[in-house]
Symmetry: C2
Subunit: 294 residues, 2 copies
């Protein structure tokens, strides 16, 4: 399998759907719709929605049916980036080489664009009911709201914000990652599986996959911040150390961090065994996570 090509195919599907599902850039009041689109089409790799599509495939579902839910997760991810970048939070002027929302549209519109993306995510989820039993859609909405809330994404962001610049122990580091990034990976996979009618055992296996994928992703991000190349990464290497951020290499050393990432990937691959060839893409994704240098 040409993994990168397969990824790009799915990401292109997501891009077209996002464009369809969002209010037109010119719809009144135009500035908010432009701000929503600006951040949404700022070069994201569509990792979460691609996971949703791939999880549906793994249980024999039709990816097109889960496309609205997949896009909803990208909206939530994008809203969280806009709010994280605000002056009151991380105060970042650039993301992926482009000025952040508040630099382009001002703080008020940036706050509202984040609010609007989060709100629109739930509109999309509720609309995703064609061909899917409504109970499943409600279960997904409940899980997505849980993963995006204070027991997930927001909880992780709160602890990350409060702990910035302080020495953080391993338990706090794990809490931050499992909530700030892990919760959305997990629900991205689960949403695709649930909507596609996964059996209980399949859902449990895919959940194990998602949790370990998220962990491996985060450890590798931390490793690349130490060992990576600024040009390849698209962001300054070494920024975690400069910002005194808690990372796996800082806490455990580079070698142990690498072993932990490999172990997580192995657990993710083991969980996919029962799915056979239908999980080829998810397997390739897990291997890619620690092979990448960007």
């Amino acid at each position: 399998m040409d993994f990168i090509k397969e990824w790009k195919t799915r990401a292109a599907l997501v891009d077209r759907a996002l464009d369809d599902y969002l209010p037109a850039a010119g719809a009144y009041p135009a500035i908010i719709h432009q701000a929503m689109r600006y951040s949404l089409f700022a070069g994201g790799k569509r990792l979460r929605p691609v996971l949703t599509l791939a999880a549906a495939e793994a249980v024999g579902g039709v990816p097109a049916l889960v496309l609205p839910a997949a896009c909803a997760l990208e909206l939530i991810h994008t809203y969280s980036l806009i709010h994280d970048d605000l002056p009151a939070m991380d105060n970042d002027d650039f993301r992926r080489g482009k000025p952040t929302s508040h630099r382009v549209y001002g703080e008020a519109v940036a706050i509202l664009a984040g609010d609007a993306l989060l709100t629109h995510a739930f509109a999309l989820l509720a609309r995703a009911r064609e061909g899917v039993p409504p109970e499943r859609v409600l279960q997904v909405i409940e899980e997505v709201a849980g993963a995006a809330g204070t027991a997930g994404l927001i909880g992780g962001q709160v602890v990350d914000t409060l702990e910035t610049g302080r020495a953080v122990d391993a338990a706090t580091l794990e809490y931050i990652h499992r909530h700030k990034t892990g919760a959305l990976y997990r629900v991205a996979v689960r949403a695709g599986a649930i909507l596609a009618g996964a059996k209980e055992g399949e859902l449990a296996a895919l959940t194990t996959y998602a949790e370990n994928l998220g962990l491996a992703f985060q450890i590798q991000d931390d490793i690349l911040d130490v060992t990576g190349d600024t040009a390849r990464l698209g962001k300054p290497a070494g920024s975690d150390e400069r910002n005194k951020k808690a990372t796996y290499p800082a806490l455990f050393g580079l070698d142990t961090a690498r072993i932990r990432a490999e172990e997580a990937v192995q657990r993710a691959l083991d969980a996919l065994q029962p799915f056979g060839a239908r999980a080829d893409f998810l397997c390739a994704m897990a291997r890619f996570v620690i092979a990448r240098d960007y």
Copy 2:
């Protein structure tokens, strides 16, 4: 009917449910749950959730079944107040005589508390499926997300923010009110009616009621800002004129504004005719809106 007593009974029901439905104040990370509760229990009159309960009653439904949805609307209302008060938006230090969220918890936590209330609203809505067909719940989630989004609440907020300090025409004034406040009143009533199984004609009548109630409410607010007493209002009278805010009295004069409010109330009452005694509370609410001096 002792309207105020009936209102207080329903508001107390909402208060208890909100306390039940929210994560405990001590749940980790505590600061975000404290911030959510601080703004939620800062003296709101629970107008929107009370409307949801009353709309369910009007079509013969059981109010207890719509309580989660009713509370969800209060969460959305509260989130919008927290974000509106932020320094980048209206920059208000006090609301209802208490320091605003960002004054107490700092801007970062205030932004996240707003995000968390909005997110939790959808968790509550999705959970509100006991005794209600799931299709109805999904319809309500879709309508609430629509009313809270850029075609509703957020759209109104965007235009209000952009137009602050500028001369605004009648069409823009109406847009702001119909979206910034009207959309939530409207969906509060519709959500209660839909969940309780309103027939098409009942839903249409209650929607007419809600739209006119919202209009009358806003006009009366504008009138009271000119004619009211600071002590009774609980906020400084005359602030609209000082802030150069567009208002009905400023655009049409006090007498015409009063007539418009009365006409709106009459349309609201006319819409309730078919419901008979079951709509007594909604009728009393409509009369109260223009009779109040606070």
